[in-house]
Amino acid sequence: MNTNIIEASGLGKRYGSTWALRECTLAIPAGHVAALVGPNGAGKTTLLNLAVGLAEPSAGRVSVLGGQPAGSPAALDGIAFVAQDTPLYRNVSVADMLHLTRNLNRHFDQHYAQTRLSELGIPLKRKSGKLSGGQQAQLALTLALARRPRLLILDEPVAMLDPIARHDFMASVLTAVADDGVSVLLSSHVLAELERVADYLVLLSAGQVQIAGEVEDLLAGHRLLTGPTAQADRYTAGPVVYTRRGDAQTHLLVRVAADDPVPPGWEAHPVGMEELALAYLREPGAGALPGPSLSGVAR
């Protein structure tokens, strides 16, 4: 599959006089678990709302599933969205939530949903408002997956969950990815959790895309250099993302090509995703990497 599950060009959203998202150009290829990372207020939820058609762009355009306009019938049909805090009808039983979702969609795999809920030990007769936070999240995920979407969008799915529920939830997502090949776009600021599941990273900062790309490529394109503080200012081999200065030693997170030589006197370490994300988040000015090219749609 070569399609992009989401493409944005010059996308912007303004609330009153504040731009929640600005000049966002982005293309995420299908087949990934893409993590949307950024501090609070960076525009993560805004971007996701635009992608599912809950919000209308103030500028630019966004399309999904290989060129379908966001919010169009075809887009809604192929995307399942689990909003922040997993809104469910609290007074409606789990069984009726399934029935409700089945009635609101063209496809709904009732057997899959029921099997999955019974494996999770979620009773069908209980009101969804009486489930634990973890169970509510799992119910919302089940409702979404039973629609057999091509793209699953999750907005802060684990923010309210305890570590065990968080782990179980992410495992469920990964199982669905493995079984069904569904693409996933999820926003989070729980970096440690993402490191395990995401293979594509989009960093948003102050309403703009800072870096975007496959995690493997991003990690290969950065390294952490440790060397004497006295020489820190003389490093010119490539762009420096982030500098942590000590009395004797300084750490530089730099962008490099994979086979760039390490400057004499410096020691190189590979970076992890969390380290990389944190470095960029601490330096909102650090430049954007070119992401994958937009296919035909963004003119």
Binding site: A74, I79, A80, N91, L104, D109, R116, D179
Partner: protein
């Protein structure tokens, strides 16, 4: 964790067949069954009461009120039943307001208030289709229930009409008869829906709906309705039977003198007598007539009842369609 595989998606895109409308009927029922059942229980109980007390009234009227002006009619029919008939009409007047407030207002407000719109509006059905199906089905349901109630009330009211006690134009019964009761119910529902969409919280939307409905109903009853068609004018002592008298005034020499409400009559009589008219036991109306004043009454004849019903039902229907259309437009364009 789950280890089952999901079946592959059915055949590709092309032109999507939308989610069938009929599925929304279940959705509506499931989501509003508590409110609908509450209204149904209340109206059902009320209908039983109307039926039982209506039977008694029919019997009493048939047995004692021929002729209607008899003492036996007063003792056995008008006396015992008039209070309950007034209470019935007052309770019924409140029904559209209650339906608007408790069914109309929460429909959209609850979704926005609890955030569940982010679930509902991202389902495959699409929010436009969802809103249309939800609002149109509920609107038809509440209007049909109100229409059925009108039939029952018309039967309940028959003995009073037969005995000549209630003009069809009476403010107490006009909006409970014909098509107007259903139209008011629909309008109250539409007011509730739009208030809920604008206010986005259920309780304030309910309060606003009650206030807006009451304002509209009072403005219509007290001011607007009598102006649908210019009233007829007569100088006879009283307007024709069971017509709707609107106002009266005196003229002298072809010119307006004073209205027959308030202090106009008293002041003129005092002028004529040159002071308080002590000792005269003359009827002021007679005195005024002797001095060349003519009394006029404007009225709507009973024959205009159905015309007025059509006019009122018509503009209420147009208003309801407009309000619901605005609500649906707002659902379409509302940014999360």
């Amino acid at each position: 964790m789950t280890a089952q595989t999901m079946p592959t998606r059915p055949a590709g895109p092309g032109r999507l067949r939308p989610v069938p409308w009929r599925r929304m009927a279940w959705v509506n029922w499931r989501q509003h069954r508590v409110a609908l059942a509450g209204v149904a229980a209340f109206l059902g109980g009320f209908a039983v009461y109307l039926w039982l007390s209506g039977l008694q009234m029919h019997h009493a009227e048939a047995a004692y009120c021929h002729p209607a002006a008899s003492i036996s009619c007063a003792v056995n029919f008008t006396g015992p039943y008039s209070e309950s008939a007034i209470i019935v009409s007052i309770v019924l007047q409140a029904v559209p307001a209650l339906i608007g407030a408790f069914i109309g207002a929460p429909v959209l407000a609850r979704e926005l208030e609890t955030g569940t719109f982010r679930y509902t509006w991202t389902q495959g059905i699409g929010r436009l289709r969802w809103a249309l199906a939800k609002l149109v089905l509920l609107a038809v349901a509440v209007t049909a229930v109100a229409g059925a109630f009108t039939v029952l009330f018309a039967w309940y009211n028959q003995p009073w009409a037969a005995a000549g006690y209630v003009s069809p134009f009476s403010a107490r019964t006009f909006d409970l008869l014909g098509m107007v009761f259903a139209a008011w119910t629909l309008a109250a529902f539409a007011i509730g829906v739009l208030a809920g969409m604008l206010i986005r919280r259920a309780v304030p939307a309910i309060a606003t709906t009650l206030a807006a409905y009451a304002a509209l109903a009072f403005a219509t009853g007290l001011w607007l309705r009598e102006r649908y068609i210019s009233p007829l004018v007569t100088s006879s002592a009283s307007p024709p039977a069971s017509s709707w008298a609107i106002s009266g005034w005196y003229t002298k020499g072809g010119r307006f003198a004073f209205g027959d409400h308030g202090s106009g009559i008293a002041n003129t009589v005092r002028q004529i007598c040159g002071g308080p008219c002590h000792g005269t036991h003359q009827d002021p109306a007679q005195l005024l007539a002797q001095r060349g004043y003519t009394h006029w009454t404007s009225y709507q004849p009973a024959s205009r009842f159905w015309t007025f019903q059509w006019i009122e039902a018509g503009w209420l229907l147009a208003l309801s369609v407009l309000l619901i259309a605005v609500a649906i437009w707002l659902v379409r364009r509302r940014a999360a």
